[in-house]
């Protein structure tokens, strides 16, 4: 399944990049279509973040002692201030490791 997934995703990704440049479709897209392309990465990555911060566990909300959530919130603040990928990842990861290893809330 992994290989077929990689190949299918590779072909689709190439077609996404190639089809407009191939000249098959009209260059003029409606404003709302262009807008929707702008929103898609935000709209798809956000639920993945929610999933990875373990906010839902066993179909219930999980806030207390959820160090991933707290570290994620710190990372959001760092990203907002610095606009730097490495700083966001480093501070977020350091916060999570500190909380999960040294703090008992």
């Amino acid at each position: 399944m992994i290989w077929s997934g990689i190949i299918i995703c590779g072909v689709i990704t190439f077609l996404i990049r190639f089809i407009p440049m191939s000249g098959i479709i009209s260059k003029k897209l409606s404003a709302s279509t262009k807008n929707s392309f702008k929103y898609i990465p935000l709209a798809v990555l956000t639920p993945i973040i929610i999933n990875d911060l373990s906010i839902i566990q066993n179909n219930n909300l999980f806030f207390i002692e959820n160090y991933k959530l707290y570290a994620g919130l710190i990372a959001i603040i760092v990203s907002f201030i610095t606009n730097n990928i490495l700083a966001t990842i480093s501070v977020g990861m350091a916060s999570y490791l500190f909380m999960s290893n040294f703090i008992n809330i």
Binding site: M1, I2, S4, G5, I6, I7, I8, C9, G10, I12, T13, F14, I16, R17, F18, I19, P20, M21, S22, G23, K27, L29, S32, K34, N35, S36, F37, K38, Y39, I40, P41, L42, A43, V44, L45, T46, P47, I48, I49, I50, N51, D52, L53, I55, I56, L61, K68, A71, G72, A75, I76, F80, I85, L86, T88, I89, G92, M93, L97, N101
Partner: protein, 232 residues
């Protein structure tokens, strides 16, 4: 003479793309580590970087694989994340329309965020220059090589890192670092809020394709709010 000019434009693309590798290289290492941690073989992890060649979508792929997500959801998610390249390609078409099919295939493959960001600036500022496509070739090849080498470094490091580090957590942190700078208006903010809340609700209800559905809800909210913003 003509060959020399093409080489100079190619070299300019390479040199202008190089500073961005400070951000790309660590990202590639992170992807390589995550791919191995998620259970991919070194061959799968390494070749994915040349078959898909799209950073955020590759990290999403390995994250979803590690949580036993159905193939349909993985393909839809990767396609959705990479859909912005469709717009890049549209805006490049104006400058590359006279090239042969062979060139357009090569340049489409190399058209990533970082290559586009650097080359489109050159294309807009200097549209009359011939052989401009060599600039995109330079930026694209630089990024391609950097991504492959950094992936390989990550793959080689992957299995040897201590378990207590819980490196899977790098994935949401990477995505946070990608999306926060994209929140520049009320409508983009509402997209995040809407897809986050619908994601929470749909996931807690155990609904299949919850990532895709909450993504669609986010886009609809974003489009509606942007229309309202324009009416004001």
């Amino acid at each position: 003479m003509e060959l020399m000019k093409k080489f100079i434009i190619f070299k300019q693309g390479v040199l202008e793309e190089l500073p961005l590798q400070l951000g790309v290289f660590p990202f590639g290492i992170i992807y390589g580590i995550m791919a191995i941690e998620s259970g991919l073989t070194p061959t799968q992890a390494f070749l994915m970087s040349s078959i898909i060649f799209g950073g955020a979508s590759q990290i999403a792929f390995v994250q979803l694989i590690s949580s036993a997500t159905p193939l349909g959801v993985i393909v839809t998610t990767v396609s959705a994340i990479n859909s912005r390249h469709f717009l890049y390609s549209i805006s490049m078409m104006e400058y590359l329309k006279n090239l042969s099919l062979k060139w357009r295939i090569i340049l489409s493959y190399l058209l990533t965020d970082e290559a586009y960001a650097v080359s489109i600036r050159r294309f807009i500022n200097d549209p009359s220059t011939s052989s401009l496509h060599f600039h995109l070739l330079g930026t694209g090849i630089t990024l391609f090589l950097s991504w492959q080498i950094s992936t390989l470094v990550g793959v080689l490091l992957g299995g040897d890192l201590p378990q207590f580090l819980d490196l899977q957590f790098i994935i949401p942190l990477t995505f946070i670092a990608i999306i926060v700078p994209m929140i520049k208006s009320i409508s983009t903010f509402l997209v995040v809020i809407a897809s986050a809340f619908s994601g929470l609700i749909l996931k807690s209800l155990d609904i299949n394709f919850w990532i895709v559905i909450s993504g669609m809800i986010g886009v609809v909210i974003g489009l509606s709010s942007s229309k309202l913003e324009k009416k004001r």
